[in-house]
Structures are given as C-alpha cells and as structure tokens.
C-alpha cells in the first residue's frame, strides 16, 4: 500500500494572507473556514445559554429584561443550529470528503467558496437589529423563539425581517453546499470507489444534502410568505383573510423535523469512522447502516406534525403522526445496534475521540428514548410546553450532534494540524462535559415532569432547587468547553507531539494514507481503489 499524492510544498498562484481565505477555492481552506466559523458561534451560542441559565438561577432575577430574555433564547436556538452545528459539520464534509473518496477537490470550488461566505453575511444580518437598536431603530433582534411562530412573528418588530433575510441567505448557503456535495460524491470518486465502498461519513453527508434540498426550500417559501404577511398585506397566516397561523407551523416543521436529521446524520457517519478505529474491528453492518440512513431520511419528511399535537389537529392526524414518528425509532435502533456491534468484544482503547463517541451513544440514546414519550400524542399534551421538551431536545442535539462533532474534532484534529492535542486535557474535557451536561439537563426532565413551563424568564418558587442545580451544571458545562478551545490551540500551534500519517493505530480510510497535515492538493492524481 502506498499513497499516490504529489506533495506541493508551495503553489505560486496562491494568494497569501487575508486574500487567501477570502478568495480560496480549496476544499481544505473552505473546510477550515467553516469549522472556525462554527467554533466561534459555538462560543457565542454558549454564552447566550449561560445568560439564560444565569437568569434562571433563582426566581426573580433581573439579569435580562423579559424582552431581552426572549431575544436571547431565540438567538441561542438559531445560532446553535444554523451558525454553530451546521457549519461545523459542513466544515468536516468539505475538508474530508474529497480526501475520503480520492478526489482532488470539491466538484464546484467557486460555489463552495460562495456557500461559506454567505454564512458570515447571514450571521451579521441576524444580529444587526441589536446594533440598530443602539441607533434608535427598532427594538432589537428577533424575539419569537427559534420556531418563529405566526401570528407572533407577523406582529413582532423588525428583528423578524432581518431573521427572514438571514433565513434566505442560510438557505442559499445550505443548498449550495448540498448541491456541491452531491455532485462531488457522484462525479469525483476515485476509480474503484463504488458507492458501497464509500466511508459512511460520506454516505451520511450525501443523505444530509438530499434532505437539505428536499426541505430547506419549504422554509424559504415560508419565510417569504411571512415577509409578505408582515409588509405587503397578504393573509397566508392570518384567519382574517381566510389563512391559517398553523400553516406556518406545518411549513416550519416540514423543514424543522428533518433538520434534526440534517444535524444528526453527519455525526452518525462520524460514529462509524471513530468506533471501528478504537475498537480495532471493521464496521459492523455497513449495508444495514446505509439502508437505515435511507429509511430515516424517507420517514423524516413525513412525520413533522408531531411538533404540533398541542396546536389542534384531527384525531386521525394525531394517530398518523404518532405512529409514523415512532416508526423512525426502528431504523435508528438499527444504527445503535450496528454501533454496539462494532465495538462488541473489540480491543478497545479510550482516547478522547472514543470517549466522546461513547458519550454520544449514551446521551443520544436518552434523547431518542425521551423522544418516544413526546411522540405519544396523549403524553405530549402534558409534556409539550414544559422543560421536559427542552431537556429531550438538548439530549438529542447536544448529546447527539455536538458530542459527535467534538469527537470528530479530536479524531481529525491531528490529521488537520499535524500535531496531537493534549490527551489529559481531552479526558478532563470529556468528563466535565458529561457531568455538566447531565446535571444541567437531567434536572430539566424533573422540572418538566413537575410542570415548569418553558420559554419564560421567571418561575414559581417550587422549581428553585432544581433550577439552581441545572444552572450550576450549565456553568460547569460551559467552562469545560474552554478545554476544547485549549486543545484546538495546542494542536494548531504545534505544541503537541507530531502526528503520524495514520494518527491512530487502527485508523482506516484514504485520508490516513496522506501525510499529517495533508498536502494542499490531496489527490492530484486519483488513487485506484481495488
């Protein structure tokens, strides 16, 4: 086995400094931009979360005025989903997919650049009303909650308009990235790299891209109608003209439910890269996992109204959305089974990526199981607007995707930078994250079961103790993430020991046949896979 890359020490056509990053058409540059952007907004969204937990530390706090509280929870949601998680997973896709399939680059490099630079624009547009307010224009950023429900979003201030334009920009960005990934996977694979030989991470991003194309236009359409309802006299979401505010919910969740899988898929793929490496065993059930991806993707676009059981729905609709939602747990369980099958009786070691991968299985498992409670149309009436839902959601999205991208960060950081991170700090990061996370959100399951409603800046005295526990957990969780930043810097600045080409003893995949860090152009000549 030998690798077939030509090492480019430098390239005369390459602009230096800022221009390199602004004008780049290189998938690795763009991947790094995505990842750094996502990491930055992970910090921003995390600070919003800490503000929320500080406000809720005890009843009667006045850290945030109620209006500001609404803005902070809205921005926390939008930032974490669109500006932190999606960009980070897109960053791994850009950096890794061409290497994993033996390509020279992404298929459409200029569109790739455009797709990335739309993101900072969208982020600026989203938070601009905060600064406009300082100039006396409007009343600050969007404050409707990240779901932007009508009629509140029709009546609320100009922050909603800027959020609508941010949605347009984010949509364009996501669609461009998705088209590029699909085309790359279809057209750029090295000879012999058949679809069923592709690493599961590539498969998972192919499914993510298909889902994005299938659902993001619905949100764009919804946002367009919201804009015309707000300013051009239409009545899409207003009963006064024969419209229906619940229509917004349908459009939002037709996008919003698959969005969960859009966030989840890439990390499910990441699991199937990391677990075999540290269990020193081949992937268990490769085909079963691919078929599960398809089943999950197909089901995910027909179950959206389980978010709307409390909005009023005919009984037939409730039954349909309840059973179809529960049906998703079957292919999802297949994935879990395959992950456990992969590590079963393996010669496991527990480096940081493996720890986070196992944490992912545990926490996302809890997120999935509590989702079954909410999928029950009858039980949902009780739990829907309570902290139970908040806790479930965070087990699903922090416990799943965020644990997954942290695992991926530790796994590929040595490959990307050429240097190891600090393993000791990594282990501390893992355990503090587990303790902080479970303290924060386990408490919220109990708060929700006890009846504490979500999305309010204050609460009844009886909920004080558990809220204090939850906030204390959140402070630990937030502080622990500084260790991630520390480790990124350690590897980035080359303080860790040099990483070998293979990095991990049992790592598989074309990217590990290249040096660490890989050359600027990975496979100028395509390898032939036998």
């Amino acid at each position: 086995m030998r690798h077939a890359a030509i090492e480019y020490t430098h390239d005369e056509h390459q602009p230096r400094g800022l221009a390199r990053w602004l004008f780049t058409t290189n998938h690795k540059d763009i991947g790094i931009l995505y990842m750094l952007f996502g990491l930055t907004f992970f910090v921003v969204g995390g600070l919003f979360a800490e503000l929320i937990r500080a406000q809720l530390f005890q009843p009667g706090q006045h850290i945030l005025a109620p209006e500001a509280y609404n803005q902070v929870i809205t921005l926390h949601g939008l930032v974490m989903v669109f500006a932190a998680l999606m960009p980070v997973t897109a960053g791994f896709a850009n950096y890794l997919i061409p290497m994993m399939i033996g390509a020279s680059d992404m298929a459409l490099p200029r569109l790739n650049n455009w797709g990335f630079w739309l993101l900072p624009v969208a982020a600026v547009v989203l938070v601009l009303p905060f600064f406009l307010k300082m100039l006396g224009i409007g009343n600050g950023p969007i404050d409707t909650g990240w779901t932007i429900y009508a009629p509140l979003s029709v009546q609320s201030g100009l922050g909603v308009d800027f959020a609508i334009f941010a949605v347009f920009l984010l949509g364009a960005s996501s669609l461009l990235a998705s088209i590029n990934i699909i085309v790359t996977v279809k057209n750029m694979r090295a000879p012999g790299m058949t679809m069923m030989k592709m690493p599961l991470f590539v498969w998972s991003w192919l499914m993510t891209s298909l889902l994005l194309i299938a659902v993001f236009p619905a949100l764009i359409a919804g946002a367009a109608m919201l804009l015309t309802d707000r300013h051009f006299g239409t009545h899409f979401f207003s009963a006064a003209g024969g419209g229906d505010p619940v229509l917004w919910q349908h459009l939002f969740w037709f996008f919003g439910h698959p969005e969960v899988y859009i966030l989840l898929f890439p990390t499910a793929g990441i699991m199937s890269q990391i677990l075999p490496t540290f269990a020193r065993k081949p992937i268990y059930g490769y085909r079963a996992q691919v078929y599960s991806y398809w089943a999950i993707a197909a089901l995910s676009v027909v179950v959206w109204a389980h978010h709307m059981f409390t909005s009023g729905m005919p009984v037939g609709g409730q039954l349909y959305f309840m059973y179809s939602t529960m049906a998703i747990s079957v292919p999802l369980a297949v994935l879990f089974f395959c992950w456990l099958g992969t590590i079963w009786r393996g010669a496991m070691t527990f480096e940081t990526p493996m720890l986070f991968a196992l944490g992912y299985i545990t926490l996302f498992g809890i997120g999935g199981l509590t989702g079954l409670v909410l999928a029950d149309a009858v039980a949902d009436q009780q739990y829907h607007n309570s902290y139970f839902l908040v806790a479930h959601f965070h087990y699903a999205l922090f416990g799943g995707p965020i644990m997954g991208v942290i695992a991926a960060a530790y796994y590929w950081l040595p490959k990307i930078t050429g240097h190891m991170y600090n393993e000791r700090a990594g282990k501390w990061h893992f355990w503090l994250t587990m303790i902080g996370f479970n303290t924060t959100f386990m408490a919220q399951f109990f708060l929700g079961a006890a009846g504490m409603p979500r999305r309010i800046p204050d609460y009844a005295l009886q909920f004080t103790d558990l809220n204090m526990v939850s906030s204390a957990g959140a402070f630990v969780l937030g502080a622990a993430q500084l260790l991630l930043l520390y480790n990124v810097i350690v590897a980035w600045r080359g303080h860790g020991r040099p990483a070998s080409d293979r990095v991990w003893e049992a790592a598989q995949g074309l990217e590990f046949t290249l040096p660490s860090p890989p050359p600027y152009h990975s496979f100028t000549d395509q390898p032939v896979i036998s």
Binding site: A4, H13, A19, L22, F23, T24, T25, G102, S104, D105, L108, P109, R110, L111, W114, W117, V121, V125, L128, I137, G138, L158, D161, F162, F165, F168, L175, S178, I179, N180, V183, K186, N187, A214, V215, F216, P217, A218, A221, A224, M225, L227, T228, F232, T234, H235, F236, A239, G241, G242, G243, D244, V246, L247, T513, D525, Q526, P527, V528, I529
Partner: protein, 285 residues
C-alpha cells in the same frame, strides 16, 4: 486499498476568485437595505443601490471568467458532468420551492378555508363568509377573478411554443446548424418577452379593474405569490436565454460542447412545466 494512480486527466480546479465573496458583500448590503426599507427607513434605499452595483459587477465578472475558461478548453467531459449534475440538483431545489407554494394553495383552499367556514358564525373572519373558493373577501373588498380562457390560455400557448422553439434550436445545435440555433433562440426570447408583457398587463388589469390584489384574502395571496414567483423565474430565464443567444452568435457552442445552452434550456422547460401547473390549479380549476 490503493494500488496505483489513475491515468485520467486532472480535474480542473479554478484559481482563487474574488467574485463569490464580492457577491456576498453585495447580498449583505441588499439584505440590510431591504430589511430597513420594508420598515420604512430611508437609508435602506441607498444600501439597496450600493448592493446592486457590485451585484452587476460580479455577474459580469463571474460568468465572464466561466465563459473564458470554457473558450480556453479547460472544461472536458468530467467537468461538464459536474455542471450538469449541479444544474439538475439546483432545479430539483426549485421544484421543492414551487411545490411548497402549491402545497400552501391546496392547504388553504381545501383545509383552512373550509375549517374556518365550519366554525361558529360568530368567529367568521368577515360577515357573509361562506368558505368558498375564491374567498371573495376580506370584508368590504369584493374582487373578480381572472378568466383562464383569455390571457392565461394565450400565455400557455406562448410558453409551450417557446419550449418547442428552444428544442428546435437544440436540434440545430446538435447538427451544427448555426442558423437554426440562432433563429430558434431569437424566437424563444421573443415568446418569453411577450409572455411577460401579457402577464404584466394581466396584473395591471387585476389591480385596477378587478380589485384582485395581494390583500384579497388567501385567494389573492396565493394567486400573486405563485404567478409572481413564476414571472420572476421567466424573467431570469429570458435574461439567461439572451446571454446564450449572444454566446451562440459568438460561436461559443458546438455539437458536443454546449453545457451552457443545455442548462438554460432545462431551466426553461422547468419554468414551462410550472406554468402548466399554474394554469390548471390557479387559473382553471
């Protein structure tokens, strides 16, 4: 796993380009300007203007560099396949966009309006609301709808003919029949322009004489949203066809190297099919 290297030629990866990021700058100004403008803040207008200028520069520069690369022979079958797949998936995303608006039409028409009519008359959106389609309201704003057998039927004929002329142009291109290519494209552009003029005339008629506006309940909202979005796509299509016509006159395409032409003709057929759906579900039924 890897045994040797492939003998295939190198995939063309373009050099760093300033256009995408400039386009983003332009979109930043446009989005900010529009956000201010819809809230009646005067500065918005200036920002929109400031954003439109770099947009034009980028469109010329970016497409210009693609055309130059194409002329320089940098694109081969491998790159061509990427462009084709990219265009195809872009059109798929557009299909989803229109499907959503059609979904909204069906939802409002067959679910939400009848549900409203089934409520206690006390909660009726306006007196005399009966839940039919067209919705004939809100209160005090009666309107008439556009008959499908006037301009809409004519427009259907025009767009279908334009689909035929663009295909005829394609046949010409495939047989290296330049004159047929160019006259086919000229006819297609003309038919598109006439379509747009008639559509504008129809909107004018609706607003000034029929009382049918964006504010005419969900009927008016879905009517103008669907037809307006389609009209916007036709406008884009006409612009793209004009560029392709100009490139054909310059002799950019030959029988086995004409992705630009095909991409635009696919787009044009897509717009055509959307119109058929509009004619049936918005105007006729």
């Amino acid at each position: 796993m890897t045994t040797s290297t492939s003998a295939r030629h190198h995939y063309y990866v373009p050099k760093p380009s300033p256009y995408p990021v400039l386009l983003c700058l332009s979109l930043l100004l446009l989005a900010t300007g529009l956000g201010l403008r819809v809230n009646g803040i005067g500065a918005g207008r200036w920002l929109i203007g400031a954003g439109a200028l770099p947009l034009l520069y980028v469109l010329f520069g970016w497409f210009g560099s693609i055309i130059a690369e194409s002329r320089a022979g940098l694109y081969h079958r491998w790159e061509d396949r990427s462009f084709r797949l990219g265009m195809m998936w872009f059109i798929v995303s557009e299909v989803v966009l229109f499907a959503t608006f059609f979904g909204v039409l069906f939802y409002e028409r067959s679910l939400s309006v009848p549900w409203l009519a089934g409520l206690d008359p006390h909660f009726s959106p306006w007196p005399g609301f009966a839940g039919g389609w067209p919705t004939a309201g809100p209160a005090g704003k009666a309107f008439e709808v556009i008959s499908p057998w006037g301009i809409p039927a004519l427009n259907t004929v025009l767009l279908l003919s334009s689909g035929a002329t663009v295909t005829w142009a394609h046949w010409g291109l495939r047989r290296d029949h330049r004159q047929q290519l160019i006259s086919g494209l000229v006819l297609t552009v003309l038919l598109g322009v006439v379509f747009l003029a008639l559509q504008a005339q129809e909107f004018h008629h609706a607003y000034t004489e029929l009382g049918l506006t964006l504010g005419s309940g969900v009927y008016g909202a879905t009517f103008f949203m669907l037809t307006g979005l389609h009209g916007f796509h036709v406008t884009l299509g006409v612009v793209m066809l004009t560029v392709i016509l100009w490139r054909s006159v310059k002799g950019d395409f030959n029988r086995d190297h004409h992705f630009g032409f095909e991409a635009v003709s696919w787009y044009w057929h897509f717009v055509d099919v959307v119109w058929l759906m509009l004619f049936v579900f918005v105007y006729w039924m």
